[in-house]
Symmetry: C2
DNA sequence: CGAGACTTTGACCGTAGTCAATTTATGTGG
DNA sequence: CCACATAAATTGACTACGGTCAAAGTCTCG
């Protein structure tokens, strides 16, 4: 289970040259200290391995999301999880089927292991409070309910940039972005075709650059204004 | 503060004839036992009276909502609160201004008062768990992100019907609905004009009837199917 | 009865969805 | 390292859902 080995060593940390910073360093330490890192392939279902009740994990590398699938196949992604994020994996209490899915190769570690198991303390990000989790959901509701396609996309990019920056996974406005346009569509409540066209529009307008799985925000200040993005303090937006 | 009196005696319980059931009965008892019921006018801001930190209240009568207002004036309502609902009133942790607003005349009571103050126990609804609150938000995200205008509206009506039924505030598919179309628009992420037209469409199709502040769901089963509504068990949907 | 709040309507426009085909990666086996 | 199969991105043509603007009705309430 933990020795998928050899070919392993997932991609994110590999680019340590480009994106080296605080938490990234700890990740490799965590990985070497415990053999208890859980790995999932793209599309892997995080709930599958649940034994007794919910479980809190921290993402070491890769991306994941949680979502609902409607009876007719439509999907809504509620939030994206990136390295450093805490995921509170649990079965959905209601009728609809909430699921947690890996979007890339994914490494997570059980929080309890980190808490008691370790000899050396690790700079893991704090678990988000209930309010912070809720706020993130509110932001998603605002995107879905009030923003246009173009605004939604910029808004999401800005949020991801900010979150990835917090763990050292960005550099000068750019960050690795391993999601397909289909996933973006499900997260933003848009059709895949429209995601594609909107992306091109943003490129034409010189707001973002998307090349080989890397997104670059070229005018963060202007983008934030356009998308009514309020996440970061204006200062951070260059 | 609590003796707004005389003209008071809000509307919901007045219609006790039509909508009498479990919890409604207790409401009048609560109201008479304690003078500590807080009242707000339509549009009243529930946060205004916060003294020390957050506060949990239960709605005795009237409707409320929580929302964000974007810098350019757009509004997104996250959830609607009806009689029996618990509201966890608190300042927003992030940048944007979350606010809790009364949508009609509103009566709430502090949960702590109910807990220790009372001589006689009251059948108050249980406080929702974290998961239940979260689920409600997920439902809202699905509505905003995946459903069409018509679907959203039906879906919301069905949810409200189910919730109001739980506290005895419905009868044969109908319930009091004191919201303006503008509020519906903000809750559903639609324009006010489109809300109006969609409403008429639903009427023409014989799915709902809206007369003088009362909504009647004429074909709950079909509506649930149309709107992919999964809240209640199929049995309940007649 | 008049003022203001809500609802309704018409005309028109633009964002976003659908369908279907094409091009461009990506990946795998030989 | 090439050929083929598959996934992902892109394009075109067309449609329709939903937004905007502005005006006209309705309803409430003092």
């Amino acid at each position: 289970m933990f020795n998928a080995s050899s070919t392993a060593e997932p991609q994110e940390p590999r680019s340590g040259k480009l994106f080296a910073k605080p938490w990234t360093a700890d990740v490799s330490r965590v990985r070497s200290f415990w053999g208890s890192v859980e790995r999932f392939p793209p599309g892997g279902n995080l709930i599958g391995r649940l034994r007794n009740g919910p479980k809190q994990v921290v993402v070491l590398s890769g991306w994941a999301c949680d979502m609902w699938i409607l009876p007719d196949g439509r999907r809504q992604i509620f939030s994206l999880f990136v390295p450093g994020d805490h995921i509170d994996i649990r079965q959905n209490s209601g009728v609809a089927a909430r699921s947690f899915v890996a979007l890339t190769r994914l490494e997570v570690i059980d929080r309890r292991r980190l808490a008691n198991g370790g000899t050396e303390p690790v700079n893991l990000p704090q678990a988000p409070s209930f309010e912070e989790t809720e706020d993130r959901h509110f932001v998603q509701m605002v995107r879905l309910g009030q923003l246009s396609g173009k605004e939604r996309m910029l808004h999401l990019f800005l949020e991801l940039y900010e979150r990835l920056s917090a763990v050292g996974l960005s550099k000068d406005g750019s960050f690795r972005f391993p999601l397909t346009q289909e996933v973006m569509a499900d997260a933003l409540g848009l059709s895949i075709v429209h995601v594609n066209r909107t992306l091109q529009q943003l490129r034409r307008e010189g707001l973002v650059e998307v090349r080989s799985g890397t997104v670059t925000l070229l005018q963060r200040g202007r983008s934030a204004a356009l998308a009514l993005y309020q996440g970061a303090s204006p200062a951070q937006l260059v």
